[in-house]
């Protein structure tokens, strides 16, 4: 590279073949270019070797990307994933729609999730009236009702407030809901993909309303969106004054339209449906509002015929993400040391412990937590396992610091029955066959 001429540097950004011409090791490269044009991987010219059957062509052959220029830096103004990653996408199924694709959900590929931050383009997407496209110039936020000083803000004004960044999951309370009466999806993306996690940036509502003078009789806050569905929801003032935020950014950039661009509500740990997107209005009141999404929907019907309302938090939960039906152990050999890992989370606190069972919940061992351990956030757990090629029933059980323990299916359904739709957090089990195939099963007594 140090032999490159000035001219060649100027040409870097233009045509690859052209700049190759100008490099001093011209002859080698010219040949290489010819080879690479005729074959995907040309034989290395710089270090020719005699091939044995056992030699890996990925090593002994010069790879195409090593012998020609890549893209110029000007290629993607906004970067996109490698084209090889085209299967790492959100997915949908008709079962989860309320008629059409405008009142539906698209699931996060959590089998491909690494670490604890979901890339913005893969964040699960639940809408009740389509994804609104809001022009930031026409955006207004109104805060009124039982406050001494009602307020209207433009987007620029809102962003002048001091910002806080917090990592929190957002989960639809219907996550896992299609499986109350038995397993239906042989897929983690569909069994548990109504959730994602991001670092959210915005203003703490308590910082914003401190100036507005909340009247003493204010007990509730209505949050409403400016989209087609408006998505009104009632929030108790205690949460508003604790950790509630008005956010405008996710993972370092403006919210995606699917997440409520330009502004959404963030109530850490609570039902995704409460994190009102395209936020338009906050109204403080003495009595709750009884919006459609907290009466007709998002209420948990129990066998007594009574339904639990205002069931805000997502309870302690966990899922093994590797292995899983999409990422089985079919390539493992007996004796391989493999990492079992997964995600644990609780809307009621911080993950404290995760246990793993190999025998369908008869015996348990404690897994290690790894990475950041944050409140109301996905936490990674890990267990190193020497693969034996024998059938397993793999489960995980999470415990949080508020004393909540993930229940078995029997423990949960004994209280809330099987028609609850929402808030299913019972222990998940993967059946691993002797071939390493992974299936979604339920364990009952």
């Amino acid at each position: 590279m140090n032999k490159m001429t000035k001219t060649s540097e100027q040409h870097l950004a233009s045509n690859a073949d052209e700049s190759v011409e100008l490099i001093s090791r011209r002859n080698f490269f010219r040949k290489a270019a010819v080879y690479s044009a005729s074959a995907v991987a040309a034989t290395s010219i710089l270090s020719p070797v005699k091939l044995n059957a056992a030699d890996d062509p990925a090593i002994v052959h010069e790879a195409e990307w090593g012998i020609k220029l890549g893209d110029p830096v000007t290629k993607n103004r906004y970067g996109v994933p490698s084209p090889y990653e085209h299967n790492n996408t959100r997915r949908t199924t008709s079962l989860l729609a309320s008629g059409d694709d405008y009142a539906s959900i698209s699931m996060c590929p959590i089998h491909e999730q690494e670490g604890i931050i979901t890339p913005n383009g893969l964040f699960f997407n639940r809408v009740h009236g389509g994804v609104a496209h809001v022009d930031p110039k026409g955006y207004r936020l109104m805060i009124h009702g039982l406050v001494e000083k009602p307020l209207v803000l433009t987007l620029d004004e809102l962003k002048r407030y001091p910002s806080v960044s917090r990592v929190h999951f957002v989960e639809c309370p219907a996550n896992g809901g299609p499986e109350w009466r038995g397993p239906q999806f042989n897929s983690i993306q569909f069994a548990k993909g109504m959730m994602s996690q991001a670092e959210w940036t915005g203003v703490m509502i308590k910082d914003l309303i401190a100036d507005l003078g909340l009247k003493p009789e204010a007990k509730w806050m209505l949050a409403e969106g400016c989209d087609n569905s408006e998505m009104g929801r009632t929030v108790p003032v205690e949460k508003v004054l604790d950790d509630a935020m008005i956010v405008w950014a996710q993972n370092g950039e403006a919210l995606r339209p699917e997440q409520g661009y330009p502004v959404r509500l963030m109530l850490p740990g609570w039902e995704g449906n409460l994190q009102v997107k395209w936020l338009k209005r906050l109204e403080f009141s003495k009595e709750p509002f009884y919006a459609k999404e907290e009466t007709a929907k998002y209420t948990v019907l129990t066998p007594s015929g009574k339904a639990i309302q205002h069931f805000y938090p997502l309870e302690v939960n966990s899922i093994i993400t590797s292995p899983c039906p999409e990422k089985p152990w079919t390539d493992l050999k007996k004796g391989d040391l493999v990492e079992i890992q997964g995600l644990a989370w609780s809307g009621q606190g911080t993950i404290k412990t995760v246990d793993i069972s190999f025998d369908g919940g008869d015996n348990w061992v404690e897994a290690s937590l790894k990475g950041l351990i944050l409140p109301k956030a996905w936490t990674r757990f890990s267990y190193m396992y020497r693969y034996e090629g024998k059938p397993l029933l793999l489960s995980s059980r999470a415990i949080d610091d508020s004393g909540h323990i993930q229940p078995t299916i029997d423990q949960e359904t004994a209280v809330v029955g099987v028609e609850a739709v929402y808030h299913r957090n019972s222990i998940c089990t993967w059946e691993v066959t002797d071939k390493g195939v992974v299936n979604n099963v339920h364990i009952r007594s």
């Binding site: 569909f190 009595e287 937590l369 299936n439």
Partner: protein
């Protein structure tokens, strides 16, 4: 029940936070922090008690979960900006007109419910024109491009105790008459959210009418009176409605004790299911009863795959000028023939329409015909934009 080294976890979390938020920590010096701290305490944290711990205080929040406070500039693993945050000058006071324009929610005590009236008969007509194509005749639920639209009637209150376990195949029917606790929700939702494809288009009288119709097909009686075709619903009568499932929800959220009731309910995980931390012989000698998938659902879009093979970039031609309008304003009805609309790209269906000539087809669409609302319900479209969308649906035919 179990012992765990909490210190270990907290300290590792702290280490992590230093890595994550190192610069923020360094930026705020001790002297800056001191005066600001007292201010934030008294002004901001009103209902959440301050205690000593960095992690959970041991107190429970309204959601039955842990409560965290700020200790030594840290909120759990996050460094906190504790400088004064008061007396901001941004924004302005909304005018009364502006507040009224947005404040259209309707509460159970009648707050927000406008004056007006409408009959069941008029509501039936509006329903047939603007709702039936999705919600079916008499609210029976209609087929959409993906699944069925919500059912708006036909549920027995008694069904709420049904559980689909064992041989029972009948589940609870959660519809307006059997489940919704308040009629105010229906007025508010219909006026602000329906019809789905162009909401906020019904006048107060039209909303009264269609709400009256929906209540009548749910066999709601007002003050002991059945709602027949001639029944006219107005504000006064509306305030007398008592929904059959008004008392079907726990905990009680109304009145001054509402939030406290919620807090008490959520503080007890036995109200919604909690586990136990058994480590050995938890099944007490029994074998685990494995329930496998009976009918697998795997019609996923796109199909499930974790392949990392190279996909040729799809040859994407130029975008049709009508495609955007089609997707935002027409696709809800024209993606399939479920509602009787000629589906986009269905040559036979459009050929039949085109027999009368393209101009008639344009005109019918612009003025509306049968279940096709004028301009598909989106009156902001210019005629040219509308025609482009029609062209797109016709041109998409292969």
């Amino acid at each position: 029940m179990f012992t765990l080294d909490r210190k270990k976890i907290i300290s590792s979390a702290l280490v992590a936070s230093v890595i994550l938020l190192g610069t923020a920590c360094n930026a705020s010096t001790e002297t800056e922090k001191a005066p600001a701290k007292t201010e934030t305490k008294t002004e901001v944290v009103k209902t959440v008690p301050e205690t000593q711990a960095t992690a959970a205080t041991g107190d429970k929040g309204i959601d039955g979960g842990a409560v965290y406070t700020i200790k030594d500039g840290m909120y759990t693993s996050y460094a906190v900006n504790e400088q004064a945050k008061k007396d901001f000058t941004f924004g302005r006071t909304p005018s009364k007109t502006e507040e009224a324009a947005w404040d259209i929610d309707v509460m159970p005590d009648g707050t927000g419910l406008p004056e007006g009236s409408g009959s069941v008969e008029d509501g039936d007509e509006i329903y047939e024109e603007q709702c039936a194509m999705c919600h079916g005749d008499f609210g029976s639920g209609g087929k959409g491009s993906r699944s069925t639209y919500p059912t708006l009637s036909g549920g027995e209150h008694d069904s709420l105790t049904y559980q689909r376990v064992g041989d029972n195949t009948d589940g609870p029917k959660r519809v307006i008459g059997s489940y919704w606790p308040q009629a105010s929700t229906l007025f508010w939702y219909v006026q602000s959210g329906m019809p789905f494809n162009h909401p906020k288009s019904l006048s107060d009288d039209e909303t009264y009418a269609v709400v009256a119709y929906l209540l009548s097909i749910n066999e709601i009686e007002i003050d002991g009176e059945e709602m027949d075709d001639e029944y006219v619903l107005d504000r006064e009568k509306f305030m007398k409605i008592k929904m059959p499932n008004e008392d079907g929800f726990i905990p009680v959220i109304d009145g001054p004790d509402g939030p406290a009731n919620v807090k008490k309910f959520l503080a007890d995980p036995n109200n919604y299911g909690n586990g136990t931390r058994c480590m050995k012989d938890c099944l007490e000698g029994e074998k685990p009863n494995i329930v496998r998938i009976k009918t697998e659902i795997n019609a996923f879009e796109p199909p499930m795959s974790v392949e990392r093979s190279f996909k040729e970039a799809e040859a994407s031609g130029p975008i049709h000028p009508g495609q955007k309008v089609y997707e935002s304003s027409c696709a809800a009805c024209h993606a399939t023939d479920a509602m009787g609309a000629p589906p986009s790209g269905d040559k036979a269906a459009w050929d039949t329409k085109l027999e009368k000539g393209i101009d008639v087809v344009y005109a019918n669409g612009i003025n509306g015909i049968n279940a096709m609302p004028p301009k598909g319900g989106n009156m902001t479209l210019t005629d040219d934009q509308f025609k482009a969308a029609v062209d797109f649906m016709i041109d998409s035919a292969k």
